[in-house]
């Protein structure tokens, strides 16, 4: 299954809703939605630039929630990726996100040791808790993280930031699959062969973000690329 990542409200709120629709029509089985943030340390240049554009265009948390709501009727799970300070600044964030139609929440800059409070807020709002692991996460740690997860394990297939040009490593994917949690793989996936590789290793989903955001301002190209990645 293909997950398509998009920054909420990018390039503008209307076009964002349209891109989400195009993604689903062309084979995306889930949408991964990121709230634009001023300091996205896990992201590479493409998503940094998209977040910057969205913020310059007037993105706020309230508008992000409205953006989620605008695509809630598409019939696919909406998985949120939101940096910690946006959640920290809005005590009702998890509840608001759930009401807007979100399915799960990943806060990329809250690791295992610091996640207890966040996880509690996520679960009590009725969202699934998703956690990030990477190629250097030890097997022991992977097991502990897997036990906190109620949604899926988000596996970064390469050590680094989003939009990486390396092929995702399959060792960590296989280890994550062995935890018997659903596994989604992201960071650096940009073609159908890579999607097939990670699905072949047992992942439920491959997430493509930067490669699609790069072409996102051309809706036709975006649609064709989603279809190709989805194997249509």
């Amino acid at each position: 299954m293909l997950s398509v990542f998009l920054p909420i409200g990018w390039p503008d709120p209307k076009k964002f809703a349209k891109l989400c629709k195009i993604a689903v029509e062309n084979g995306a089985g889930a949408l991964e939605l990121g709230c634009p943030y001023s300091d996205p340390v896990a992201d590479g240049p493409v998503l940094q630039a998209a977040y910057r554009e969205a913020l310059a265009e007037g993105s706020t948390t309230a508008r992000c929630l409205a953006g989620i709501e605008s695509v809630a009727g598409l019939g696919v799970p909406l998985n949120l990726l939101v940096y910690a300070n946006l959640v920290h600044a809005r005590p009702s964030f998890c509840e608001d996100a759930r009401k807007a139609g979100a399915h799960s929440l990943l806060v990329p800059d809250v690791p295992l040791e610091e996640c207890a409070e966040l996880r509690e807020a996520t679960l009590s709002a009725g969202l699934q808790h998703v956690a990030l692991v990477g190629p250097l996460t030890s097997r022991e740690r992977l097991g502990r993280i897997a036990r906190t997860v109620t949604g899926y394990l988000y596996v970064a297939g390469v050590q680094g930031i989003t939009g990486n040009a390396e092929d995702p490593g399959l060792d960590i994917v296989r280890s994550a699959v062995a935890t018997e949690r659903p596994v989604y793989v992201g960071f650096g996936i940009r073609n159908r062969a890579q999607v097939e590789n990670v699905l072949g290793a047992g992942a439920q989903s491959a997430i493509v973000g930067s490669a699609l955001v790069e072409v996102g301002k051309d809706e036709k190209r975006f649609g064709r690329m989603v279809a190709e990645l989805a194997g249509r």
């Binding site: 910057r52 948390t61 300070n85 946006l86 920290h88 040791e113 956690a131």
Partner: protein, 385 residues
């Protein structure tokens, strides 16, 4: 969200992507080396014979008449600022961890210079991230870093200042942590950095306290330091924090004035949030988007502050105050003309508070955290306005 790892009360913690956790765990495991006599000996030898420690404490009679003023002279340290204390310690640790490449962020360029210097001496590759607008306003330090063999990478994102340089350094480290160490320059960041950098900078306060005990004797009434990220202040305050009679004052940059919003006074005008791996006071909007700071001094131009300062503020142990760009400039000029010392614009904030506050008859110790040679272009530019 309350931190669990490396907490200073409600502040600190380790808010980073999981991908960076292995590097922080590795660093934490290496920290006991700081107590290892052989490692300690090596560090002290470098600080003594290469970097010029101990630095003197200078009595100043003309700068603020009526105040018994002494300056701890970190401006005389190799490289021209206190940053060298931390850079040498972390670089030696990094080498012991088997790292061959050092990454650093820099604002004013002092930390970048210190890292470039020790990197050259230890034969390590050095990459410095520096905000593009800081590259422009601190050209002298950029030239120094390049001459020392470091690669200087201008960071265009955001306002092109220290915050953006730290983001980029964190991304590099996450990607290259197998062979690279991120030599973070201040008491900010995820655990263990605030503790590690405090340990390495505490030499400032230890020396100053010892020197004061000999001359003029006893303890100072007031100890003053500027606060950007807060490493020179923590390094100085740490030696006096248990001395109840000693008033500790941290001076933040008020920039063009607190009311204008163009400042870097995070403790005075900010609120708790998460930035660069720690819960601390930050400048942010209602949604939690990080706001840009402003200060005439690149080293204080940062919308966060070390988490230990956040705790010290809440405890009331340290009084935090703010000084404007203009007040800092005036204090810089006054120290030049009265004592023949050119202070860094950062340190000039601490000096300006001494001029502004009524300290008649008080015995005051100011941490002169760095020298101002790098700021001459800014000072000249300001004189023309």
């Amino acid at each position: 969200m309350k931190p669990r790892v490396g907490a200073f009360g409600e502040y600190g913690g380790r808010y980073v992507p999981e991908l960076l956790v292995p590097a922080l765990e590795e660093l934490e495991k290496a920290m006991p080396l700081l107590r290892d006599p052989a490692f300690r000996g090596q560090l002290d030898a470098e600080l003594g014979t290469w970097a010029g420690r101990p630095t003197p404490v200078t009595r100043c009679e003309r700068f603020a008449p009526g105040v018994s003023l002494y300056l701890k002279r970190e401006d005389l340290l190799h490289g021209g600022a206190h940053k060298t204390n931390n850079a040498v310690g972390q670089a030696l640790l990094a080498r012991r961890m088997g790292k061959t490449r050092l990454i650093a962020e820099t604002g004013a360029g002092q930390h970048g210079t210190a890292t470039a210097m020790i990197g050259a001496r230890l034969g390590m590759e050095v990459v410095i991230y520096m905000g593009a607008s800081d590259v422009a306003r601190q050209a002298a330090n950029v030239a120094r870093m390049k001459t020392l063999g470091a690669a200087v990478v201008p960071v265009e994102s955001g306002a092109g200042t220290l915050k953006d340089a730290i983001n980029e350094a964190l991304r590099d480290w996450t990607t290259n942590l197998r062979h690279s160490h991120y030599l973070l320059g201040t008491v900010c960041g995820p655990h263990p950095f605030p503790t590690l950098v405090r340990e390495l900078q505490s030499v400032i306060g230890r020396e100053a306290r010892e020197a004061w005990r000999r001359e003029p004797g006893g303890l100072p009434d007031v100890v003053v330091a500027c606060v950007g990220g807060g490493s020179n202040a923590i390094g100085m305050f740490n030696a006096f924090r248990l001395d109840k009679s000693v008033q500790l004052v941290g001076v933040e940059p008020a920039g063009r004035g607190l009311a204008t919003g163009q400042h870097g006074a995070t403790l005075i005008a900010g609120s708790p949030g998460l930035l660069h791996g720690a819960r601390t006071y930050i400048l942010q909007d209602a949604d939690g988007q990080i706001r840009e700071a402003h200060s005439i001094s690149a080293g204080l131009d940062y919308p966060g502050v070390g988490p230990e300062h956040a705790m010290l503020k809440d405890q009331g142990r340290v009084a935090y105050v703010a000084i404007s760009d203009d007040e800092a400039l005036a204090a810089l000029r006054q120290l030049c003309r009265t004592e023949g010392i050119i202070p860094a614009l950062e340190s000039a904030h601490a000096l300006a508070w001494v001029l502004k506050e009524d300290l008649q008859g008080k015995r005051v110790l100011v941490n002169l955290s760095g020298r101002g040679d790098k700021d001459m272009a800014i000072v000249e530019e300001a004189s023309r306005c």
